[in-house]
């Protein structure tokens, strides 16, 4: 019986077996790279050998047909090897320069946009959403698709000041991580407690412990042990919901979208940055989220027009200043932008540095 088969606890496999021989041969011996055109990298090894990488977008959530199609292409042009990037783009590598254009043509023909290299808008980092997660306030695949449809030209061209890393997260937990632009769910009302369920499913001390502002108290409701939320304190973070599904935070109207900018993981030039809230109260308008997409395009447009070469979104804004960011994008500045969480003072302007 397969039920009794002990797993082979093999961990991760050795990558070498899956690497193109040119990579194996020049492992650790790469000398420099450039980008002959958007979507294409050329890495040259100390040995003089060259590897071309053609990068294309995918939908990440792939049906087996899509994956098999990618495999077909890899067989035809890349000696049967392919890889995916950390952002779920697909990379085809070939040492044969003559393969590059046909490969691009083929990918485009099959509906995989070629791009995402250098100073382009990369593929949006993707989370689970309504398709799979148990706590989402919105979908992820849909948001990503709707946005990438609008940003595909920016994916295919390298016309941004620097790389643009966009992320989405379908709840405030933020599995999508920090981004130059992040499109995240932001709840705007305290959870509505389903008291019927609390008694049954919730470990009350655990959920009380999760609340960052101690807004949850044990309570007797209709004679049964339940919970209550201090609505004055609650910051609508949704942290109580995963451990206690009766704390219903998701709401078709009050779970909104917020947009954040200027997150940065790299330590390149500036230190890594967290993304900063710029717009909230945006309707969770499935299936194409036009209001959110509009703001994203607006921000990207301002960045593209105004930032300097190599400035990431957050660095650009630091240079031009937040006043100018709000001016250029026309986004309203509100009291919600002013940090009032622990240590929020660090986000005040404690200097005479001013932007006019």
């Amino acid at each position: 019986m397969s039920e009794l088969r002990r797993p082979i606890e093999s961990g991760v496999p050795d990558s070498t077996q899956f690497m193109h021989p040119t990579l194996v041969k020049n492992y650790g011996q790469w000398a420099w790279h450039d980008r002959p055109r958007p979507g294409v990298l050329r890495h040259v090894a100390e040995s003089g050998e060259t590897m071309y990488t053609i990068k294309a977008g995918t939908q990440r959530q792939m049906d087996v047909y899509t994956i098999r199609k990618l495999a077909d292409i890899a067989d035809e042009f890349c000696d049967g090897y392919v890889r995916f990037t950390i952002r779920s783009a697909v990379e085809f590598m070939t040492p044969v320069e003559a393969n590059v254009q046909p490969l691009i043509d083929r990918l485009e023909a099959e509906g995989f946009p070629v791009g995402g290299t250098g100073n382009s808008v990369g593929f949006i980092s993707h989370t689970q959403g309504w398709l799979h997660c148990d706590i989402p306030g919105t979908d992820a695949s849909g948001v990503v698709k709707a946005l990438m449809d609008q940003l595909v030209d920016e994916f295919k061209h390298e016309e941004m000041p620097n790389r643009v890393k966009i992320t989405t997260s379908c709840c405030q937990i933020n599995c999508g991580g920090q981004g130059d632009i992040a499109i995240n769910v932001q709840h705007t009302k305290p959870p509505v407690i389903n008291h019927e369920l609390v008694a049954g499913v919730c470990e009350r001390p655990a959920v009380i412990a999760r609340c960052p502002v101690a807004a949850i108290r044990p309570a007797l409701v209709n004679g049964k042990p339940s919970l209550e939320v201090d609505e004055k304190k609650c910051v609508c973070c949704g942290a109580c919901y995963p451990p206690c599904p009766p704390m219903q935070i998701n709401d078709p109207v009050n779970s909104k979208i917020a947009i954040w900018v200027g997150g940065k993981h790299s330590s390149t030039r500036s230190k890594p940055m967290f993304h900063k809230l710029v717009a909230a109260g945006i309707p969770n308008n499935a299936p194409r989220w036009p209001e959110a997409a509009e703001i994203v395009r607006n921000i990207l447009g301002a960045y593209k027009a105004d930032a300097r070469a190599w400035e990431r979104m957050g660095e650009w804004i630091e240079r031009i200043g937040w006043p100018r960011f709000f001016e250029l994008t026309g986004l309203p500045f509100t009291k919600y932008h002013v940090d009032n969480w622990r240590g929020g003072r660090a986000n005040l302007n404690t200097s005479a540095h001013l932007h006019f």
Binding site: M19, D34, R60, A74, G137, G177, P252
Partner: protein, 416 residues
Amino acid sequence: MSKKMPETPLLDQLESGPWPSFVTGLKRLATDEGKPYADYMKSLLGQLELSYETRKGYWKGGTVGVFGYGAGVIPRFSEVADKHPESSEFHTLRIMPAPGFFYDTKTLRDLCDIWAEHGSGLIALHGQSGDIMMQGCRTEQVQQAWDKINAMGFDMGGAGAGVRTAASCIGPARCEQACFDTLKAHRTVINDFTDDIHRPSLPYKMKFKFSGCANDCANATQRADVAVIGTWRDDMQVNQDEVKAKVAQLGRKEFINQVIRMCPSQALALNDDDSLDIDNKSCVRCMHCINVCTKALKPGKDRGIAILVGGKRTLKIGDLMGSVLVPFMKMDSDEDYERLLELAHNMLDFFAENALEHERTGEMIERIGVVNYLEGIGLELDVNMIAQPRTNSYVRTDGWDEEARKWNDRKTNAAE
């Protein structure tokens, strides 16, 4: 007698447009009549359309697993199984790919075949932590699917309060900036923690990520409890002729703007002959100038890693970034990789013993203080750990002389 395709007017709007459509993929599976997943996916589409209509999710968790392991399957049971019964169970198997996300096409096809037989036919390459997510599997199929995947040489990824699937940048396999072997480090560390991945019993999750340089293509600093990042100690390598070529290409003013002016530590100056004057002592190894001048500049030769600890996302106290705990370790020999592994174990053990329930490493350090954490894992203080010394006088310093002596002894020993 196959199930009828549900009406999906909302989802259908996600089929137009130039970007590859997951809806088209789902429909392709749903309409692949005769395949075990066809009705399954029709039902799934129905539920998803409902979510789009009502703007609510309908999955809940539960308990599903494979024999021998305590984690790796993300169980999903539908709350609307009455309306969409076939997809009432839609679990995900998290499978760890090879470091760097490399595949040959046979492997990809084999995975597809397994999933066409036992699952939904829907695979995500990859999850944000780096797993192959084989999405959509009925409880009864989970073990069989797993057995086949496992037999292919793949193992299950992390979930729950254990060590999680790691991620690494492509590193030396194709990147000239890699200051250590990210793929080897990834494999060395993770494959020694399989027990903690598969039988989670930590206070909360623990993630490792490996980036070959400060560009941090693996998002390690902010998204890993333990971020291993390549760097170098000696002077960067310069080819002044290529520098001059770059100055000629960009023009002087623009070269100054893009390179000199953007160096975060003012370590660069342009000589009057258009060669570069590099103050390597001030350089913070940020990679910027190297990125701009890929032919002219390179990291130095004395390479290794820095380790940053404590990164995580939002829950409980707001996002935390990792912070430097080890500013430099050589990563040349196998012994070096073993030392990294040993340190990783110390970190895990200390975390296991000292973190509160649902507390990440970063939060624990925030609570107990980084100095206590260092002592706990047997690491020594290093000035690179701090952005700056304390700015407040709120500290009892009566052990000053003793602590100063320790430092001086270390320095003397190091000099000997």
